[in-house]
């Protein structure tokens, strides 16, 4: 009993040490734990997947499967737009989900734009692109800047609204140049495709540690009907549910958990070049399960950061719950003793 009472006066620095150890151990000795996917994450994944030429292209040879050649030959008329609205302070939560969405796009040949109005987010975009493309190019696939994706990069915040509304007509006129100074209309992803405005670029995926995604819902969705998906830090997730419930937000990846869920879906379906299906999600094949083993080297560590982190998260949460229970027992024992002394 004295031990529990003494916890009341425990120096908080001991708590920090306990938490640090609880987090470090699962990171050094990783283990597999179940990650259940939630509907908002599945919806976002399915929408991006529906833009894939592996889903949209014509089956020219009639074998029932869209081959790589057929997918490449398909004149792409869908793309997604990724808006990065955060600095390095929220990277542990948001970076894994940005990497996972980019991986999904590249595996499934969905073109994407990257954009930010925060100057400190510009290098984060470059880092995410290089993490994804460097690793996938090791498999022999060539990923070309301007063809597979366009990095618009940093644009001044004063232009946010004009760009946001201008992209309803023509993205090349609204943003003019990419981060390297190339004119958008000269880049193959614009020049050789049918991608022009929100009609084709019908999903904006906005990652932030704030409610910045609301701007897209207020302006782009209200006026042009564009689908908006958000990637948020866990702190902001609760505020977003009303917009999910009303259908203004089509999907959401919330915190490290959301990122881990998206990583799971990419490894199960996109890595195996499969289209998402609920049936296969519940009854995965051996090939799908092999990619989920985070203790093996099947998937590079860079692509399972959120799942590795979620193991540490789970252990830390258990420890916090134990501390809360012990603290409350100590509090009530102390209160009981005080009442007796009265």
């Amino acid at each position: 009993m004295n031990f529990i009472k003494n916890l009341q006066g425990l120096d908080r620095r001991y708590v920090f040490v306990f938490i640090a150890v609880a987090i470090i151990m699962p990171l050094i000795f990783p283990f597999n734990s179940l990650t259940y996917t939630t509907t908002p994450v599945e919806n976002l994944y399915q929408l991006i997947d529906s833009y894939s030429p592996y889903v949209r292209a014509d089956d020219l040879n009639g074998d029932g499967i869209i081959s790589e050649e057929e997918a490449i030959a398909f004149k792409q008329d869908r793309a997604i737009f990724m808006d990065f609205f955060h600095d390095a302070s929220t990277m542990p939560e948001l970076f894994p989900m940005e990497v996972a969405v980019m991986r999904h796009c590249i595996y499934r040949r969905v073109p994407f734009f990257t954009f930010t109005i925060m100057e400190v987010a510009a290098p984060i975009i470059e880092e995410a692109i290089s993490v994804v493309t460097d690793e996938i190019q090791k498999t022999g696939r060539v990923i070309e800047r301007g063809k597979d994706y366009i990095n618009i990069g940093y644009k001044p915040p004063a232009l946010y609204l004009p760009i946001l509304l201008g992209m309803g007509d023509d993205i090349a006129a609204a943003v003019e140049t990419d981060t390297d100074g190339n004119r958008i209309e000269n880049l193959p992803m614009y020049r050789d495709t049918a991608i022009r405005n929100y009609t084709q670029m019908n999903l904006v995926y906005e990652t932030s540690g704030s409610d910045q995604g609301l701007s897209w819902m207020i302006y782009a969705r209200s006026r042009f009907g564009v689908n908006v998906g958000v990637g948020l830090t866990a702190v902001m997730a609760a505020d977003q549910y009303p917009y999910l419930q009303s259908g203004q937000c089509v999907g959401m990846t919330a915190g490290l958990k959301g990122a881990a869920e998206y990583e799971n879906l990419v490894d199960m379906f996109a890595m195996n070049n499969l289209t998402f299906s609920k049936g296969q999600l519940d009854n995965p094949t051996e090939a799908m399960m092999a990619n989920l083993d985070i203790t093996s080297d099947t998937v590079p560590t860079k692509f399972k950061m959120a799942r590795l982190g979620m193991n540490a998260q789970s252990v830390a949460h258990i420890l916090i719950i134990v501390f809360i229970i012990l603290g409350n027992i100590g509090y009530f024992l102390e209160k009981k003793k005080q009442n007796k002394n009265l």
Binding site: R13, F16, L161, Q248
Partner: protein, 198 residues
């Protein structure tokens, strides 16, 4: 080069964590450094991506003198530092506020009208019923023209419970977010040390 970068990053991470023990010069050094680096990185980027293409390029190369108008209003912001002419900075602020005002009608649609519409759907499932009950009882709680007593008080009490659950969910998410940030840094430290040992 990578090794030097890693050593600096590890040192700065540990310097920031050292605050958990107590305030110290290493922590303050890292704190000031991040402010300096952020500003130092941001200024040339803003110059390259905003000032050069939208001021220098437009006015001096393309001779689009219409851009002098926003430049003029932009300069007025600097009068904020003057005691005598500080009032001039209110004009660009007023223009900015006007732009915010332009979004009010669209905000009304997304943040009010669509939300209200979604709150008035048939109570077909238990979840929708829970949302309906929560909406009504929380609104009861925030209606202060009637004393919260009797049956009315009981309903508003349910509203308080709804809000408490909402705050609890937000707090739970906040704990998760803060732990995630710690995980990110410890993941970096663990991977870096593993790399050094290997």
């Amino acid at each position: 080069m990578t090794l030097i970068g890693e050593i600096i990053a590890v040192f700065l991470t540990l310097a920031i964590f050292s605050f958990l023990y107590k305030d110290n010069p290493a922590y303050r050094f890292a704190e000031y450094l991040i402010v300096g680096v952020t500003v130092g990185y941001g200024l040339p980027l803003v110059y390259k991506n905003a000032f050069q293409p939208f001021v220098l390029q437009r006015i001096f190369v393309e001779h689009k003198f219409i851009f002098l108008i926003p430049v003029f209003f932009g300069i007025l912001f600097w009068f904020r530092f003057s005691r005598n002419y500080g009032w001039l900075s209110r004009y660009p602020i007023a223009i900015s506020m006007g732009m915010v005002g332009a979004g009010v009608t669209m905000s009304m649609n997304s943040m009010v009208l669509v939300q209200v519409r979604q709150a008035m759907i048939p109570l077909e499932t238990f979840n929708i019923f829970l949302i309906f009950l929560g909406t009504i009882t929380v609104m009861f709680y925030f209606f202060f023209s009637k004393a919260h007593t009797g049956l009315y008080g009981k309903f508003s009490r349910i509203g308080i419970w709804y809000m408490m659950i909402g705050f609890g969910a937000s707090f739970g998410y906040t704990v998760m977010a803060r732990i995630s940030l710690l995980i990110g840094r410890l993941q970096f430290l663990a991977d870096t040390f593993k790399g050094w040992i290997a």
